[in-house]
């Protein structure tokens, strides 16, 4: 049986095709631009192309992410917290994770899951976005360091300078101050990662930080993010690139679950 999970996020849209709840036979990712609904369809078509499957051969489509209601082809929509928990549980299945940290474009979430990946508790960042990926994008623009280089640059830091402001935009004033005091760009950037890690730490403590932390979401690629988290959380956080697809995989797996139920 083939189920599709499409995660329509604010930054990018991700999709997977899952065969019999276990095997990922196709995946796709693109930045979300324009209409989220159309984006979802595009990703879905790309999945069909890669897997050489016909639309009719996909048994169930589950959408997730902020645009989950906008995908017309969906059979069900599920919140991205639920799917991230399930997906991460599957991706890291041999390590039996219970704490998942999802740092996305607009918000960060700490999720506590049970044995099956079911959410026991979760916490999202409060209304200001200073703890999210978007903040890094702004810093990249302001400090004139391209996004691809941002992690690499930050890793060169020897004396990170934390940002204390709670507002993403007003943090820029602080960054300007750092810049004008002649603090090197790498130290400011690493400080930015450290500040995000600090906020993530607070979220994790809210759901109780008593186990290894597994990363999901867009920032899993960045070594600087991992390094900052390792330091702030005082443990080695676990991250694999595939975790970027946590929500999509989780959606596909929950889709499979629904399908089983319907068939009964």
């Amino acid at each position: 049986m083939i189920t599709a999970g499409i995660d329509i996020g604010t930054g990018s849209t991700k999709g997977v095709l899952l065969e019999d709840n276990e095997k990922i036979i196709a995946r796709a990712i693109k930045p979300t631009k324009g209409s989220p609904g159309k984006m979802a369809t595009e990703i879905f078509n790309e999945l069909l192309e890669t897997s050489k499957l016909d639309k009719g051969e996909v048994d169930y489509i589950a959408s997730t992410g902020y645009g989950r209601y906008m995908m017309e082809e969906r059979q069900i929509q599920i919140s991205d917290l639920t799917t991230t928990g399930r997906g991460a549980k599957f991706i890291y299945r041999d390590k039996n994770p219970s704490l998942i940290l999802d740092i996305g474009t607009q918000s960060s979430r700490a999720i506590r899951v049970d044995e099956r990946g079911k959410i026991i508790q979760f916490k999202m960042n409060e209304r200001c976005a200073a703890g999210s990926g978007r903040f890094i994008e702004r810093c990249s623009r302001y400090l004139v360091v391209p996004m691809e280089k941002i992690s690499e640059t930050a890793m060169k830091s020897t004396d990170p300078q934390k940002i204390s402001s709670v507002c993403a935009v007003l943090s820029e004033t602080e960054i300007i101050n750092h810049v004008s005091q002649g603090i090197p760009v790498e130290d400011i950037l690493m400080g930015v990662f450290m500040s995000i890690a600090d906020r993530a730490g607070t979220l994790l403590k809210r759901v109780k930080l008593d186990a290894p932390v597994f990363l999901a979401g867009g920032l899993v690629h960045m070594p600087a993010m991992k390094k900052a988290l390792d330091e702030v959380l005082d443990q080695e956080v676990i991250s694999v690139p595939e975790a970027h697809f946590s929500a999509a995989i989780g959606a596909a797996r929950l889709g499979y679950q629904r399908l089983q139920k319907i068939k009964k």
Partner: protein
């Protein structure tokens, strides 16, 4: 104008004497051994005299919290409290105290903060007090006594309000006698009250001194240091002696025309709780413009001791404690607060009002914008409003505050 003798401040006999003694009192306080039962009280309108007379060691978590903030140590405790569920918008005092005492065992680099044996909630001017003590009572499983102080709304507190407070004070004493197997001794209370009175008279006099031009004291930035004895040690001999020393130092400064800045140019009244995490920087913003605060409301959070009728009185023990408790600054109606600020602006020959609003304390802050409007449009004084927090350094945006303070004094100078 006094005859000015050219003397350098450091040559004076009492130069820095009060500040030195205050530092010593703080050190001694946090290093003292715990030999008696410990009671936690709030600063505003508390019955410390009664508890001292009953034989308690008195602690005020607000003072510990601000001491941590001024030493740049508050954030770690705030984060600890947030990690057990206290929200971003909860009062920083509450979070620092819970993070420090309940969650970290009270260990600080100044000494250990003991856990309480008794909590007395002197509910005067701050509704968070009740929430805070309810939580501590659950964390520590110790008795909690509510002492409900009615809000000040009338020109004189009415008989019924005083009776209500006095009735509760007597009930409190009886309850403590039973709980801790103690005996209340009126003579002891009167001795404690006499020390309080002496300290309050001295503290009150130091406020008056700022009427001199130039003012010998910064009635905000300096007085905040000098608040420690009146708030933490009121009713002790040390506190009474401290204000004697302070006044000697101030008399000497007046004699030689010495003030906290070299060349007093602006006299301000300051309203609001200070930004402890950025205290020094904030002070420097004023110093560089030769601005001295000549009166301030924050030093009166422990009591309006600039008004002689509101000081403790061994001749009227119950009544003076009750009357005092209604008039802690945060328990005052906006009518009274506006009048007080008007009085300060006029009596102390001030040029302007500076308001510092904080996120944590809505009791102090909610309505300060209305006050600003009143001062500018009804009294005709310039007023500046800046905002941050008294505990949480995440709200201290130095560049922005500096910008506002500089622009304010630039404008005052241009008008001259």
């Amino acid at each position: 104008m006094e005859n000015i003798v050219a003397v350098k401040e450091e040559d004076l006999q009492y130069a820095g004497a009060a500040r030195k003694m205050q530092r010593q009192l703080v050190r001694d306080f946090y290093r003292q051994d715990v030999t008696k039962p410990v009671v936690y009280l709030f600063v505003g309108g508390n019955p410390a005299e009664l508890l001292r007379a009953l034989g308690f060691q008195v602690y005020m978590p607000e003072i510990t919290a601000l001491t941590m903030a001024i030493r740049h140590q508050s954030l770690q405790y705030i984060l600890k409290a947030e990690s057990i569920g206290y929200g971003l918008d909860v009062c920083g005092y509450v979070k620092t105290d819970i993070g420090l005492t309940h969650l970290s065992g009270g260990e600080t680099d100044m000494g250990k903060i003991p856990r309480p044996d008794l909590l007395v909630c002197n509910y005067s001017g701050c509704s968070v007090y009740a929430k805070w003590w309810e939580a501590l009572a659950e964390f520590y499983k110790v008795p909690l006594i509510m002492l409900d102080i009615p809000y000040h709304r009338f020109n004189d507190p009415q008989k019924e309000d005083l009776e209500y407070i006095i009735g509760q004070l007597r009930e409190m004493v009886e309850k403590i006698e039973k709980l801790f197997d103690l005996t209340f001794d009126m003579n002891r209370l009167k001795d404690v009250l006499a020390y309080s009175r002496k300290a309050e008279d001295g503290w009150g006099r130091s406020f008056e001194m700022a009427k001199h031009v130039p003012s010998p004291i910064d009635a905000y930035f300096e007085s905040i240091f000098y608040m420690f004895p009146i708030n933490a040690l009121r009713g002790t001999k040390e506190a009474a002696e401290f204000y004697d020393l302070l006044n000697r130092e101030l008399d000497e400064r007046v004699k030689h025309g010495i003030g906290p800045v070299e060349n007093e140019e602006f006299r301000t009244v300051i309203e609001g709780v200070p930004p402890y995490p950025g205290y020094r920087s904030f002070w420097n913003m004023f110093k560089k413009w030769n601005a001295v605060s000549v009166a301030a409301t924050y030093p009166k959070v422990g009591g309006m001791f600039d008004i002689p009728e509101l000081r403790h009185d061994p001749a009227k023990p119950w009544e003076s404690i009750a009357r005092y408790s209604i008039f802690s600054y945060c328990n005052l109606s906006w009518d009274f607060r506006r009048e007080t600020i008007k009085r300060y602006l006029e009596d102390f020959k001030a040029d302007a009002l500076v308001i510092h609003g904080i996120k944590s304390c809505r009791s102090f802050t909610a309505g300060q914008g209305d006050l600003r409007d009143y001062v500018i449009n009804e009294l005709g004084y310039p007023a500046l409003y800046v905002e941050s927090d008294h505990q949480d350094p995440r709200y201290w945006a130095e560049a922005q505050i500096l910008n506002r303070v500089d622009a304010f004094f630039e404008a005052l100078r241009m008008k001259r």
